[in-house]
Subunit: 283 residues, 4 copies
């Protein structure tokens, strides 16, 4: 088996690699009522308008269905470039207020995020820092931490990659006390301006983390300033993926994978809920 110049046989190679036995890691969190989220966004809610037995068709069949209401920055989600502005401008230089006129961002909305089928890498920062369970609350992950992590893992970060930064904070997602994952009082670990700049300098396509806000939050500061968002979304054109589930991937020692993310093409939105995947071939 080999890659060739023929499209068909290239696809065959891909299918052969997959059929050889893939393992698909689910990097998304379950959407459920009451899950932790930022209070700045409309909460997730779900109900069944119709249940089985409500109305049975003449042939004995019945259908149940749903209603959901939510923000797009709750659960695992990706930020579109329309999400953040700096000094009144979006990534493309457009006037941010004008860009949203009409109640949707026609140019940089979630519908413009191309689906991603790319090389992905995991940077297991707390493993490299010697605190494998997780970084301490409010810890700022530095460029040095990122390079040290990559070296320790033997992982190269390449242009076009999607880089997922594990802080270990994801272990709190299911905590009975839902305020812990939000972490307003404690602070939350993540990269700061320097780390975001380092990521952009590597030419990455998107960066993800296992926290709500992706970046370092100081104790009590909340979302008062978000410099990594500015660097990535406004200045450098790097997508941000938040509230990811990275524990399983880290526990399996998987640091390199095919990363797949297919956002809902919500016209004009500032983000989309997603369920990203890490695909590896077992054999």
């Amino acid at each position: 088996m080999s890659t060739t110049t023929s499209p068909a046989s290239g696809t065959q190679t891909l299918l052969a690699a997959v059929s050889a036995g893939t393992r698909v890691y689910d990097l998304g969190r379950r959407l459920s009522i009451g899950m932790p989220q930022s209070p700045n966004h409309p909460p997730f809610w779900h109900a069944l308008p119709r249940r089985h037995g409500d109305a049975v068709r003449v042939d004995g069949g019945s259908a149940a269905n749903d209603i959901i209401t939510m923000g797009t920055h709750v659960g695992t989600h990706i930020d579109a470039f329309s999400h953040v502005s700096q000094d009144g401008r979006l990534f493309d230089g457009s006037d941010a207020a004008d860009a949203g006129r009409g109640g949707r961002f026609a140019e940089l909305g979630a519908h413009t995020i191309a689906p991603m089928v790319r090389r992905g890498v995991l940077l297991d920062v707390p493993a490299a820092l010697g605190t494998p369970d997780g970084c301490v609350p409010g810890y700022e992950i530095t460029p040095q931490d990122l390079t040290r992590t990559a070296e320790r893992q033997g992982t190269q970060v390449r242009p076009g990659d999607v880089v997922l930064i594990r802080s270990g904070w994801g272990r709190l997602f299911g905590d009975a006390d839902r305020t812990r994952f939000v972490g307003h009082d404690s602070g939350v670990p993540g990269v700061g301006e320097a780390g975001a700049t380092w990521l952009a300098d590597q030419g990455v396509h998107a960066a993800g983390a296992d926290t709500i806000a992706f970046e370092c939050l100081r104790p009590g500061a909340g979302h008062s300033v978000l410099p990594a968002h500015r660097v990535l979304l406004v200045e450098r054109g790097v997508y941000i993926i938040e509230t990811m589930a990275l524990e399983e991937l880290a526990a399996a020692g998987v640091h390199e994978f095919l990363f797949v993310l297919s956002p809902l093409a919500i016209f004009g939105a500032t983000g989309s809920p997603v369920r990203p995947l890490a695909v590896v071939v077992d054999a």
Copy 2:
């Protein structure tokens, strides 16, 4: 380059196949206010609670965000096995009314649909029928049509595949008259009980179509009976994907591809909006 028994090098093969130059076909419809959908489900709506300029942070940054409300069977979506019951039973034999108690299907909800990274095939039925633009309204696609299409294309349908059935009806999705795609009065082409049985007999994992209801709707009959849903979702355990965008794939003559679908893990829901992908290697 070759596949080996080492996990790492299997993944390398996969990544090499991808980096050789993939083409990703977007099989999902854009979610926008007013798009055609079944009136049985809560309509899609979107708004921006916050726009740029509403509140500017001390550092000159601002964030815009969204609220969405929708059913899960609007736009491109996948049906969970909890969606349909027959004679009061779901696919796993459970009592359908009991299964939904609490307002969510803990056992067969959308959160139980494993992400799909599989071989996918397109059956371009109208091309085989000699009416390449599309089947006539209300036309029932038969097992003979399906086998004839596969043969004409030189496509094998294999166990575990995801089979996408183009009827051509998707050309009406963007029609200014939104009732045309819904097709209540005209009827809509698709497989019937026989075609669904044929698909299940091939051992397919999921089946999709470019219409709202997947299956053949007779003129004026609407959703009064849905035998293909019964066969696939209740009797045979085959997922159904609806309102897909298949025109571009068909126009490109792509009949075999890596199919990727990652439903939102909405706890207990009967379905999920999705944006499925067809991945091929160009070179």
Copy 3:
């Protein structure tokens, strides 16, 4: 019994008048899924997240509850002054875009509409026009029609009143064809600029009608221009109430009543669903 200068006894008079036997006419439409509404607004939807039997308390009790999602200009509703602007200005002269910054109208939002407990009058226009079932589609109700109707009824319109204008169009609210009440193609009867000016000149506090848009819509024109909204909401400060149920009141020949309307105090909204009442004393 007499009114006196004592507060307590004034209230006693009121209570005595009420306890003597009131009749309360419900001027609101039932909110139900699929009811006719303007497609410009988020549709009404309702579901029961929890039903009885989902979770039973230790003492044998259970509670069911709801989720609703809707626009505020669906069903019977009142328009706040924030709803309409002219040449970029609201009724208070403020910049309309500025006023809505932050996603809510702090100054002229629905929460600023004082509850109404006022004299109300019904002007049964089609009865006066000799077409008691209703005005013809698209008919513009003129000031002459309004004065003629008031004279025929022996009704005085006084400053501070709430004036309800029956066009008879409300008979179509429950029509199986939901597009009839919306009336895009047919046009809808109502006052135009002249009628609105007449109402404002009488010093009325609010004006209502049995149609979605309150004012005359020409066949096929939809909501392209709404001069009565401009006159009443922007220039003169008169509230507008829409989609009212006036048939029962008209059939009973009730032309004068205590009008009660208590909008939901939705902070910053452009309107509110309401269920207005006409109260008369029977004996």
Copy 4:
């Protein structure tokens, strides 16, 4: 001026009483994002899909509009008899699960609550208990407290009345710490089974309070058992109104008034947001 047997003149008496100068007390809370509410219900959210300037009509006019999503038991609201069941039965003896089939309560839903134009009385319990600011957290208001309060005020409770019980807890509604009004840990004052029975024995039509749950919540107990709901909604057919604003009424010493409440006629719902009014005649 006198009441007569003529309907018209009865209404004249009513209008004269009103025009003599009414004062209308607003007993509803403002609906705003982030207000305190029970976590058991879908939170209130509001956004402006369209703002002024988004789209300007040819004549220089523009319209802004809203989307809201919420439970019906958030903010000031009334419970329909469908809200609570005991041992599987509703107030009318019907099977509670059957009654909600189809996702709506056709028989006892919010649409069946007749608008109220009735005598209302305020029982200012903490004033009578000598703790005028409010009852202590978790305090159970007894029948003795209620009779003592009525006697102290010189207020008679009569059949058909709406009785509003002030606990003083409403002062916490606007507290920066939103958990205080919910009061899970502290407990919340209110009547218990005995107080509810006393209310029903007086033949009252509805009972209201300034707390979320109406009834006494023990510290830490939350909504584990709600005996007053059982007595009033299931056994005796008395409506419950919650999260009322009673401080202004109490401060003014108004204990008797015309009570007006007009719930949204939400078909099949278990409750409705409301903005109840207390009307008194000043002179």
